[in-house]
Symmetry: C2
Subunit: 204 residues, 2 copies
Amino acid sequence: MARRNDHSREQIQQMAITAAIGILNEEGPGQLSTRKVASAIGYTVGTLYLVFRNLDELLLHVNAATLDELHSAIRSALANQHTPVEQLKAIAFSYLEFARHQYARWSLLYSHQLQNGEQAPAWFNDKVNALFGLVEIPLKTVKPDMSHKDLVCATRVLWSGVHGACELALNNKLRLGDEVSADVLIHSMIDNYLAGLACEQVTA
Amino acid sequence: MARRNDHSREQIQQMAITAAIGILNEEGPGQLSTRKVASAIGYTVGTLYLVFRNLDELLLHVNAATLDELHSAIRSALANQHTPVEQLKAIAFSYLEFARHQYARWSLLYSHQLQNGEQAPAWFNDKVNALFGLVEIPLKTVKPDMSHKDLVCATRVLWSGVHGACELALNNKLRLGDEVSADVLIHSMIDNYLAGLACEQVTA
DNA sequence: ACCTGAACACCGTTCAAGT
DNA sequence: ACCTGAACACCGTTCAAGT
């Protein structure tokens, strides 16, 4: 014991991230703990604190992997779409699909808060910006005369609107009844918001 | 000890709910625990489990109180508004204000999940429905020819859209930059969604 | 240098025992 | 009947001690 050198720092980090994702998928967010991750990779908890500052930092890496997968899921959904409206809907519905099939990881993306006001590192924020970038491209085609500010605004409105609909619908917080589903909400949200952008001059 | 009869079941419940709200406001959601609530009201943890089934049920009552306050905050914001669009915006911005000033309680409303698929009791869902009802009234005035389904849909789109913008903006998940704020997002969302409803016949 | 094992200060929940 | 106190099975995090 006490000196194995079986794995490098980086290998242990990667093993821990993979193990955490496995626990998240199989047992849910409530069951994820440093002790379980450690025992899943055959090390003790102490070792985890040798390669990560704390649980927060491990979860940040789990979220980074989730953002990467979400990014490529959206990109492959975009491949078959040609009109910008089709593209925006493909993004929204692949987001909904991702949330449905990777619910634990998807919700960790939002429930995980860095403690005592720490900022996410730049490489993490870059991944988030890349996702918004996927929305900006078709939006720019829909309305080429938008200012940068309006483009940032419209991107975030669509993103947070679709996100809110996914979150509340998947958590049964919307009292939807039988007639309406998350899909219906997203269609209505995108169609009408874009129609509004097209036919209205919004005053500042 | 062991038999005080200082308070009735209902009194202890109410004291616990009030104490939990205090801890939430003063120390944040991470610091809320059964042990802290119990010691704040001068009882042991065991007593808490005599009047609540578990922590979940206590949090449900905390959330019920939060929904009541949110309801009356929105109602008083509505009092000064006359046009339906003004009313919808008053609802949205009082929601944002509430989220900003009661952040811990507001986020508990959404982060609190009943465990193993239990359903919230009917009296709780009634409070949620009452909130949606506040949105339905001005919406019906804006577009009186809406079907029930379309009204349910539009209400939920606005609610979850505004909610998503509040959640992501307050959590700094939107990479907004200097030019755009949560207020700008909400204005854009409501203006354009309503404009879309007004000028477009959405196909099913 | 790398890793462990035990400790510290917490959790939610249960329940025999006391009055 | 009401309430306690201790127990059980967990947490995240730290760090002296071992090789």
